[in-house]
């Protein structure tokens, strides 16, 4: 598939290794990727760029950086699908997601993923969200 105008994904994560690897992977799948290593960097990028999709880590500068980014993105670009990708369950044992109505109300994301998922699965999820 040739994309003349590439789909842009904003990827925010403070784990530079994850950021690098996911960026490369998404680029190879034909996406244009812009990256941010912190909530602050992501907010700055969002001032000037409207991505087609955003993937946020949860815990960056603060424990809820990802949630804050969700809110801010949704306010500025209500149409942009958002994925929260986090290792929080394996790190803290706290597990939540978008399973209940209440969670869906306060977590302004379209999809909530545990970081351990395979890269192919991530691509499938991204495609689903972009089509919707």
């Amino acid at each position: 598939m040739v994309m003349s105008d590439k789909t842009t994904i904003l990827l925010a994560d403070d784990d530079v290794d994850y950021l690098f690897q996911m960026k490369l992977h998404l680029q190879q799948s034909g996406y244009k990727v812009i990256t941010a290593e912190s909530q602050r960097e992501a907010e700055e990028l969002l001032q000037s760029v409207q991505p087609d999709l955003a993937i946020f880590d949860l815990m960056m500068e603060t424990e809820d950086s990802g949630f804050i980014l969700c809110y801010k993105t949704r306010r500025k670009y209500p149409e942009v699908p958002i994925i929260i990708a986090t290792a929080v369950a394996s790190e803290t044992g706290v597990s939540f997601g978008l399973n209940t109505e209440e969670e869906q109300r306060w977590i302004k994301a379209d999809l909530y993923l545990e970081k351990g998922i395979r890269k192919e699965q991530m691509l499938t999820e991204i495609k689903k969200l972009l089509k919707a």
Binding site: D14, D15, V16, D17, Y18, F20, Q21, L24, H25, Q28, E37, S38, E61, A87, S90, E91, G93
Partner: protein, 377 residues
């Protein structure tokens, strides 16, 4: 406490003696008194234990219905926490020995004097107190350990994940067939492996300081040599960052301790002062001793930190995350180890810090406790 005896005289006697008696030990927060209840038969006693298990059962072996040993059996099966004392006559000493083998804590030969009863109650109380403390400590220890292990496994897994991802990139030639295009991938892999090695070394330090006293080799340690050693090992990195490290000592200072422990403290403080410094910055180490003990101060002109960060600094796996620290590798264990070592010596460590100005770590190690040990040995 429950007294089980078919002789009312014994029951009321015990009650009278113990109701005005309290046990006190310096290690217990408060004195312990006794509430004494009475049962005249074994059946009655079991009923009482089912209702409200006491801490102690004072049990006569010869009872009208079921025997004392049967009550003991019941307690062993159902209320193992209860301490059982057997009351017995000298004639049946053999039986008493058998009872202790069956799980009775001790026995009191009959007839006993008030003083004999009191001193065995002192013993039992001490035992109950120590047992509850051990239980509490074990529980807390287990929880702390569990928390530590879950964070540790995350810290060990994350570099593995990163390196695995990089190797996959290379395996699939995701950046093409030109090896030089993989430089960053290889650099990062090596860095993460190095970080993992540091973590493992720190863990070894941690087990070493938590090891038994007998593994320690206490002697007079020359702190100048320790400081010079620390400077030497960080020197290559200091040169790379153009950080000047200076040692200031007006006189020779020795401390009585394990050389390994002293190296752990000094190495961590000095290497942190270089790691979290600016390019071209400085580190000053001041060591001084007086009648009270040894003062070590490591001052740097580095990135410093906020006040709320200094409060968490000595906890395990705490690393201050911000733009300035994101490229500095560390296990998050160094300062927690330093703190543990200093605690072992009844010393203390303080930190003063100002963002973008630098940090000063001050260590005090008291000298008296260990001095006296040297003179006696």
């Amino acid at each position: 406490m429950l007294v089980v005896d078919d002789e009312p005289g014994i029951c009321s006697g015990v009650k009278r003696i113990l109701e005005r008696f309290t046990v006190s030990y310096p290690f217990m927060d408060e004195d312990r008194g006794f509430d004494v209840y009475e049962s005249y038969t074994g059946e009655e006693a079991i009923g009482f234990i089912q209702q409200s298990p006491p801490d102690i059962v004072l049990l006569d072996n010869k009872l009208p219905g079921i025997q004392g040993t049967e009550v003991l059996d019941y307690i062993n099966k159902n209320n193992r926490d209860i301490i059982v004392m057997i009351i017995t006559s000298y004639a049946s000493l053999e039986l008493a020995v058998k009872a202790t083998n069956q799980g009775a804590y001790d026995f009191i030969p009959k007839p006993f004097t008030p003083q004999e009863l009191k001193s065995s109650m002192e013993n039992v109380t001490k035992n109950i107190f120590l047992r509850s403390m051990t239980k509490k400590l074990n529980k807390e220890g287990k929880e702390v350990r569990f928390q530590f292990l879950s964070v540790l496994s995350h810290e060990l897994k994350s570099p593995l994940n990163a390196v695995e991802g990089y190797l996959q990139i290379m395996q699939e030639r995701q950046a093409g067939n030109n090896l030089s295009d993989y430089d960053q991938v290889i650099d990062r892999s090596l860095q993460r492996i190095k970080g993992m090695r540091t973590l493992i070394m720190d863990l070894l330090d941690l087990t070493r300081i938590q090891s038994d006293e007998k593994d320690k080799q206490y002697k007079q340690v020359n702190l100048k040599e320790v400081a010079q050693g620390a400077i030497e090992s960080i020197n290559p990195y200091a040169i790379q960052k153009d950080v000047t490290v200076e040692l200031h000592m007006d006189k020779e200072v020795e401390v009585y301790g394990d050389p390994n422990d002293m190296e752990i403290v000094m190495n961590n403080l000095v290497s942190n002062a270089v790691k979290y410094n600016y390019h071209g910055g400085g580190v000053d180490i001041n060591i001084d001793g007086d009648m009270q003990g040894v003062h070590i101060q490591v001052r740097d002109t580095g990135i410093g930190m906020k006040k709320e960060d200094t409060a968490r600094l000595f906890k395990e796996f705490v690393r201050i995350k911000n733009d300035q620290t994101k490229n500095i590798t560390g296990s998050g264990l160094g300062l927690s180890i330093v703190k543990k070592v200093i605690d072992l010596y009844d010393g203390h460590i303080d930190v003063e810090s100002e963002p973008e100005k630098g940090s000063t770590f001050t260590v005090f190690l008291p000298i008296t406790k260990y001095k006296s040990e040297t003179t006696t040995s």
